[in-house]
Each structure stands twice: as structure tokens, then as C-alpha cells.
């Protein structure tokens, strides 16, 4: 029972409004938490704080005991704190394949390579195959993202996050806009993906 | 020194009136309109032509320049600008550069490229002996007119219903539209008034800044400096930025003529580096 992600007395104020008011939480390895509450409760704010998009007014955040309160957003991703977005945030002119290949390359620390092609790394290709297969994106993998149907875009949104091999995965309304019948499938797909981080923790905002 | 300060203030007030329309349009429509200077030029040329060809007195030309340019702005907004609002900024930049080129060469073709002269009425010429320093009457006139306009603008913005509708639309056009505000009409009116003010500024500034077909290109960067440093969410922001710019430019050209405009550009770059959202902007939805 190891704590992966923890916050202590996290506060975020916007002017007079305390969107996050003294939040202390511990997320254990492999645990899954649901973040529920009425609109305006501050759920997305909390996710933004955890991922570094917003700076807290006070309080601390730590990952594996190390303080990440001031750590830049993209560095938290490298350490394994990854999120999805409620409204799809995708790379519209890229293809699902190249988007995933890029995300995988970042994780494998080969994203600064400038001489060899994006497609030349066999390991990247293998991981992309897996993700495309699991998320049923194989048949649209070479189409520009802006031309995809909503359902596929939502799947890609989540696949991109999983490509980063998260240790803590923050899902912001992952099944928003997805028909009832397919929702369970999405959760099962996420679960079925092999986890090289040794126990992925999840916070799901619903 | 006082004369310099005063000249700088006059120059700054003029820049403010010229640029305030640009600030509001940018804040409201999120549209980078590099052709704003063309409206100023239009106002200047209308004034010159009316005075020199038709003998219309200077004071009468000012409101005419305002109204004529406002009408021109309204026409262009409705026809050309409106389809461009949703476009990416690159498209807007290209579009407005195209308009400027067209305006500049068209004026050159019709009127010629010489600098135009305005003969100010006698009571505006010369200096007022105040203290030991002479204060140019015309510059004083400019400061007074622009200050009155600035006060009027601030009053409209903060005390009238139109002002609050405008502010709402600047903050979030979609929500404003959702509340039932006719955002299109607000855009149209604002654009028209902004262009009209630019025209008025062009008329006022013809004598001080010089008027020739390259006016929009020469001063474009100054308007943009006022807007980017002053921010687009207030009236006072661009006002202060314009005053700062006016004083810095006049002082720079006097004390260090070797460097000239270099000082202004460096100051701008430094300010934007320090505060990318402008000196006075508050965080907005965009």
C-alpha cells in the first residue's frame, strides 16, 4: 500500500472564490478514485492543479514522496501524471497513428530526434499497433484527425493519454458524449492494457 | 523640458485616439486589423480635401471626418470584415495587409504622393505664453479634444447600457449572444465608432504627424504598440500606453537623435517580454 500521489492542504483561489479549499488526499498505487460533485464544485480545477496547468494558492502536491508543486506541467507528464480532457484536445492535422507515435516517442525519450524519421523506431511501431488495436482505431489510423467521427476522436483522446504510460491517470469525463452501450467497453479497454508502471492509479472525474 | 513633456503628451493623446478603436476591435472581435491606419488616413485626406478644395472651416471638418470614416468603417465591417472574424490570425493579418496595400496605392493614385498641408485657422496657430515656456496652441487644442473624448469613451463604457453590453461581448461573445445581446450590431457599432475615431485622429494629426499615402504603414507599428502594451480590456490601458509612447518618442528623438525610434521599439520589446499580456491587461477569457 504505497502512496503514489498525495496533496496536503491544497488551496486554489480565484479572487475571492476558493475553487479548491484545503484538499488533502492520498492516492495509493493501483487504486481507482471517482471524483464526483455538482457543476462548479471545482473538479476540473483540481485536475488542473494536479497536472500543473494551474498553480495552487497554497498547499503541496507530491509524487512518490517528491514535491512536484512547482514542477512544470510537461515534466509531470514525464513522471507519469497524465490526463485526458473533457473536450477533446487533439492534433487535428496529424493522423491517429502519427499522434500516438509522437506520444510514444516522448515517453521513450526519442522525441528530440531530428535526423531519423518518426516511423523508423520499431519499438514505437509496436506500441502504436497495440494502442490502435485496443482502441479500435486501426481502420482510421491514417486519416487526419479533424476528419474523424466523434466516437473515434474520444477514443484517440484516451489512447493518447495511455501512450504516455501513466502511473497516475486522470480521466476527465472520459465517456462524455459516448453512447451508453459503449461506455463500459471503454473502461474495460483501459483496464485491459498492460501496465509497465507496476500498478496504475486512476482518478476518474465523472 | 516642460515643452517636451507637453509635446509628448499631445502626441500620446493623439495616438490614443488613433489607436483606441483598434484596441477595442481587437479585444471585442479578436481581430488583428493592421489596416486600422487606413481609416486614420481617410479622415486626414477627407479633411484636407474639404479644407483646400471646398473651403470648409477646420472645426467643421473634424466631425465630418469622424462621421464619414465611421460610415466607411461600418460598410467595410458588414461586407469584408465580418466573414473574417472566425479565421485564424494569420489569415486576418494577410487580409488586413492586403487592404492596407490597396488603400495606400489607391490614395497615391488618386491624390498623389506628396505630403498634404493643412492651413490651421489663425486662432489655433502660435503659442500660448504659459510660465516661461510657450505651449503650442494647436497641441493644447489636441490635448483638450482628446481628453474630452477619452472621458466620454470611459463614461460610455462604464455608465451606459451600450457600454456594459460591449464589455460583456468583449469578455465572452458566445455567452453574450446567449443572453440575447445582438452581438453583430455591437460589433458593427463598435467598429464604426473605432474607425470614426481613427479618422478624427487622422484629421487632427495631419498637421502634427504629416499626411501622405504611406501614413498607415508608417504609423501602424505605433498603433500596435499602444494596443499590445496597453492591453485590450480597458480604456485607460491604451491611454497610459499611448502617453508613455508619446513621451518616450518625443524625448528620445530630442535627447538622443542618433537612436531615434530605436528607443521606442526596444522599450516595447522589453515591456512585452516582461508582461506579454500588456502592461495593464487583466486575465481574460481568451
Amino acid at each position: 500500500m504505497t502512496t503514489v500521489l498525495a496533496t496536503r492542504s491544497l488551496v486554489k483561489r480565484f479572487g475571492g472564490l476558493a475553487a479548491t479549499n484545503d484538499v488533502t488526499l492520498d492516492v495509493q498505487r493501483g487504486a481507482r478514485h471517482a471524483l464526483i460533485g455538482p457543476n462548479g464544485a471545482g473538479k476540473t480545477t483540481l485536475i488542473n492543479l494536479l497536472t500543473g496547468v494551474l498553480e495552487p494558492t497554497s498547499g503541496t502536491i507530491s509524487l512518490d514522496g517528491a514535491d512536484i508543486t512547482k514542477l512544470a506541467s510537461h515534466l509531470r507528464v514525464r513522471r507519469g501524471v497524465v490526463r485526458t480532457f473533457q473536450i477533446n484536445q487533439l492534433f487535428n492535422t496529424l493522423t491517429p497513428l502519427s499522434s500516438l507515435a509522437l506520444a510514444v516517442s516522448v515517453h521513450r525519450k526519442t522525441s528530440t530526434r531530428w535526423w531519423r524519421s518518426l516511423g523508423s523506431d520499431a519499438g514505437v511501431a509496436a506500441e502504436c499497433e497495440q494502442l490502435l488495436g485496443r482502441f479500435r482505431l486501426g481502420d482510421v489510423m491514417d486519416q487526419p484527425v479533424h476528419s474523424l467521427a466523434y466516437g473515434k476522436r474520444r477514443l484517440l483522446e484516451i489512447a493518447l493519454a495511455l501512450a504516455c504510460q501513466p502511473r497516475v491517470l486522470l480521466l476527465d469525463e472520459p465517456v462524455a458524449g459516448v453512447p451508453e452501450g459503449e461506455r463500459q467497453e471503454i473502461f474495460e479497454t483501459i483496464n485491459a492494457l498492460p501496465d509497465v508502471t507496476g500498478g496504475r492509479s486512476e482518478i476518474v472525474k465523472v | 523640458m516642460l515643452t517636451l513633456l507637453f509635446d509628448g503628451i499631445a502626441y500620446g493623446m493623439l495616438l490614443f485616439i488613433l489607436a483606441v478603436g483598434l484596441a477595442v476591435t481587437l479585444g471585442l472581435m479578436n481581430f488583428i486589423n493592421l489596416a486600422h491606419g487606413a481609416f486614420a488616413m481617410a479622415g486626414g485626406y477627407i479633411t484636407v480635401l474639404l479644407m483646400n478644395r471646398a473651403g470648409v472651416p477646420f472645426l467643421a471638418c473634424l466631425p465630418i471626418a469622424f462621421v464619414a470614416t465611421a460610415l466607411l468603417g461600418a460598410l467595410l465591417e458588414r461586407t469584408l470584415y465580418r466573414p473574417m472574424y472566425a479565421r485564424p490570425h494569420l489569415d486576418q493579418v494577410l487580409f488586413s495587409i492586403g487592404l492596407v496595400f490597396m488603400a495606400v496605392t489607391a490614395v497615391d493614385y488618386v491624390v498623389g504622393s506628396m505630403q498634404q498641408n493643412i492651413h490651421l485657422p489663425d486662432w489655433l496657430q502660435g503659442r500660448l505664453p504659459i510660465e516661461a515656456v510657450g505651449i503650442g496652441k494647436y497641441r493644447l487644442f489636441i490635448v483638450i479634444v482628446c481628453a474630452l473624448l477619452a472621458i466620454a469613451l470611459q463614461w460610455v463604457l462604464s455608465r451606459t447600457r451600450f457600454g456594459s453590453r460591449l464589455r460583456a461581448s468583449v469578455d465572452d461573445p458566445r455567452v453574450a449572444g446567449g443572453l440575447g445581446l445582438d452581438v453583430n450590431r455591437i460589433f458593427l457599432l463598435t467598429f464604426a465608432v473605432g474607425s470614426g475615431l481613427a479618422g478624427l485622429g487622422g484629421a487632427l494629426g495631419a498637421e502634427v504627424l504629416g499626411l501622405d499615402p504611406t501614413f498607415p504603414l508608417k504609423f501602424m507599428i505605433y498603433f500596435l504598440i499602444v494596443v499590445s502594451v496597453g492591453g485590450t480590456t480597458t480604456i485607460t490601458g491604451p491611454l497610459l500606453a499611448a502617453l508613455l509612447l508619446g513621451i518616450a518618442d518625443v524625448a528620445g528623438k530630442y535627447y538622443v537623435p542618433k537612436l531615434g525610434a530605436f528607443i521606442v521599439y526596444t522599450l516595447m520589446v522589453a515591456i512585452l517580454l516582461w508582461r506579454p499580456q500588456g502592461l495593464f491587461a487583466r486575465a481574460s477569457a481568451r
Binding site: 480532457f85 497513428l97 518518426l118 516511423g119 509496436a126 488495436g133 | 494577410l94 537612436l259 520589446v269
Partner: protein, 345 residues
């Protein structure tokens, strides 16, 4: 490769045949036929059109300049109105180097590229933060500052009159027994020189844009927020691409100074920055070769319109811009979408 295939469980969807992704990825950077044709056409143009060498040289230099802007604008999404800063800086550096240090063209070119890249590095911090307008302003500001500097430091740069009388030495290929190639009046040597630089830059840039780094640039252009959310360091990449683009633009400027023998203030002018943007937009952004097609089209357009109305060419180019944008840039370069249901604007 076979390991991955063996360990992928049989539960993979039947719609994604094994290896499809790998196959597609392997073809990611493959040469299209028209690319090969283009690369063949370049040296062919030198062979087959000797009398047009001066004109072609001019076009090639503009193309190189536009390609550098493509890296910044087309691939990284930075709207810059001051790209001429690097162009002029490279030109003046090369001219001054030839005049005051040594007239060797290649050494001068290398020095100019290094200097412009350094300028790019230094000014890249300015474009990291702020909105599009802020970036527009600082890029414009930097170009204006350089213009003023070149104007006022007239003891160095010749001021408003420009830097005249730059005489270049012969091009000597290092480590070879080849005799030097003197610049000739017909421009054939100049064009060959420019072409070699253009081809080398294209080949390197091609590698760059198809690499993971290139993909990351496009990602941050498309969605900066998501780019950071998959772990990309946006500022570092912006700095890198701006530095590289600065160097390439400086190369173009240096080539101009070296092949024409002088440098002048108008190289920093707003018109230059606006023109190169137009050239790139005509040719198309974001696929690397837009600069070449745009330069050719622009030159043709320029000559066509200038022959008809030399003084008011700006009017027609302005009109062209307005129409281009109203029609939509992507649709413009795809004439088959002009009628009927077209692509999105």
C-alpha cells in the same frame, strides 16, 4: 520487429491487421514521386536555362527565405511579421565579412548562418509567451530595431545608402584540388552556388520535419495545451525551430548579398517580411516545398502585373491577398475545390 508481432495477443481487433501500423509508419517519410521530380528539376534548370540564371538565382533565394519561414509559420504556427530581420542580418554579416575579413564565399556563408542562428536563439525568448498579437509585435519590433540600427550605424553599414562594392572571391571547394569558381556576369556560378545551398537545406529540413522533432512541432502548432500534456517541452522546441529558421533565413540573405554584391536597408523592411509571408502562403504552408512553388508563382505574378502597371503593383498584390484570404488559403491551392462542395476554408 518480429518480437512485437509474437507478443501481441490474438485478441487484437480483426480490423487492424498485424503490422499495418508498422508498415504505415515505415512509409511515413518515403519520397513521393513529385518530390523526386522537383529535386531533379532543380539542377536541370541550371543545365537547361543558362540564360535565365540571374532570374532563377533570385527565385531560389526567395524560395530559401520562404522555406525558413515555413519552418516557423507552417510547422510551428508562429505568426511572424519580422522574419526579414534574419534575412537582412545574414546579408549584412556576409557583406561585411567579405569586405573586412575575407572574400571567401563559403566561409562567409557559414559565418552568416551562425550569426543569424545566434540572433534567432537570442530573439526566440521573445516569442515564447503571450498571444499572437504579442508575437506579431515583438517580431515586428526586432526587425524594426535592426532596421534602425543598420540605419544609424552608418559608419559600419553604409546607412541609408547601403553597403556597396562587395567583391566576392572565387568559390573554393575545401579539401579538393578543384580550382576556384569565380562569380560570372551571367550568374551561372551564382545560381549553382545558391542551388547547392537550397538543395542541402531542403534535404536537411526534410529529415527534420519527418522526424519525431518535426512531428512535435506540428503537434504544438495544432494544440499547444495537448502537446505539453503528452510531455513535450514547448519552449525548448520553439527556441530550437526559431534558431534553425533564423539560420536558414540568414543563409538566404547571405546568398543575396554575395551574389548581388551589396546589402541595403530595405532588406529589413516590413515589405520584405510581408512579401515572404505572401510567397509562402501562395505556395502553401506546412509541406516544406511551398516556398519553392510560391517563389516561382510570385515572380511570375510580379512580372505579369509590373509589366502592366509598374507603379501600382502593390495595389494588385493587396487585392490578390484579400481575395486569397476570402476564398481560403487551402482552397486556393486546390483549384479543384473552387466549385462545388469544397474543402473547409
Amino acid at each position: 520487429m518480429t518480437d512485437a508481432a509474437a507478443t501481441t495477443p490474438s485478441r487484437a481487433s480483426p480490423r487492424a491487421p498485424l503490422g499495418a501500423a508498422a508498415r504505415s509508419l515505415r512509409g511515413y517519410a518515403r519520397w513521393r514521386w513529385w518530390e523526386l521530380a522537383l529535386f531533379a528539376a532543380l539542377p536541370l534548370s541550371w543545365l537547361l536555362l543558362p540564360s535565365q540564371a540571374l532570374l532563377l538565382n533570385e527565385i531560389a533565394i526567395v524560395a530559401l527565405f520562404a522555406i525558413s519561414l515555413d519552418l516557423v509559420l507552417g510547422y510551428a504556427g508562429i505568426v511572424s511579421l519580422g522574419h526579414a530581420a534574419f534575412f537582412g542580418f545574414g546579408a549584412y554579416t556576409a557583406a561585411l565579412f567579405a569586405k573586412d575579413v575575407m572574400p571567401d564565399p563559403i566561409v562567409g556563408l557559414v559565418v552568416a548562418i551562425a550569426a543569424s542562428a545566434l540572433l534567432g536563439l537570442v530573439t526566440s525568448v521573445l516569442i515564447l509567451r503571450g498571444s499572437d498579437l504579442t508575437r506579431l509585435m515583438v517580431t515586428l519590433g526586432v526587425a524594426s530595431i535592426l532596421y534602425e540600427l543598420a540605419n544609424k550605424l552608418d559608419w559600419l553599414t553604409g546607412g541609408a545608402a547601403g553597403l556597396q562594392g562587395v567583391v566576392m572571391g572565387p568559390i573554393t571547394v575545401p579539401f579538393s584540388a578543384l580550382a576556384g569558381f569565380e562569380f560570372d556576369l551571367n550568374g551561372r556560378v551564382a545560381y549553382a552556388y545558391t542551388l547547392v545551398v537550397l538543395i542541402v537545406v531542403l534535404l536537411i529540413a526534410r529529415r527534420l520535419v519527418y522526424s519525431p522533432f518535426g512531428a512535435s512541432l506540428q503537434a504544438l502548432r495544432d494544440n499547444r495545451l495537448r502537446a505539453a500534456s503528452i510531455g513535450l517541452s514547448v519552449p525548448l522546441r520553439l527556441i530550437a525551430v526559431y534558431t534553425i529558421a533564423g539560420g536558414v533565413a540568414g543563409a538566404a540573405g547571405a546568398l543575396l548579398a554575395q551574389t548581388s554584391g551589396f546589402a541595403s536597408l530595405d532588406l529589413f523592411d516590413f515589405h520584405r517580411s510581408a512579401e515572404v509571408m505572401l510567397v509562402l502562403v501562395i505556395g502553401g504552408t506546412g509541406y516544406l516545398y511551398g516556398g519553392i512553388f510560391g517563389a516561382i508563382a510570385f515572380k511570375l505574378l510580379h512580372d505579369l502585373i509590373s509589366a502592366w502597371t509598374p507603379q501600382y503593383w502593390n495595389f494588385w498584390i493587396g487585392l490578390f491577398l484579400v481575395v486569397l484570404v476570402l476564398v481560403g488559403r487551402e482552397r486556393f491551392i486546390r483549384p479543384w475545390t473552387w466549385f462545388g462542395k469544397g474543402a473547409r476554408p
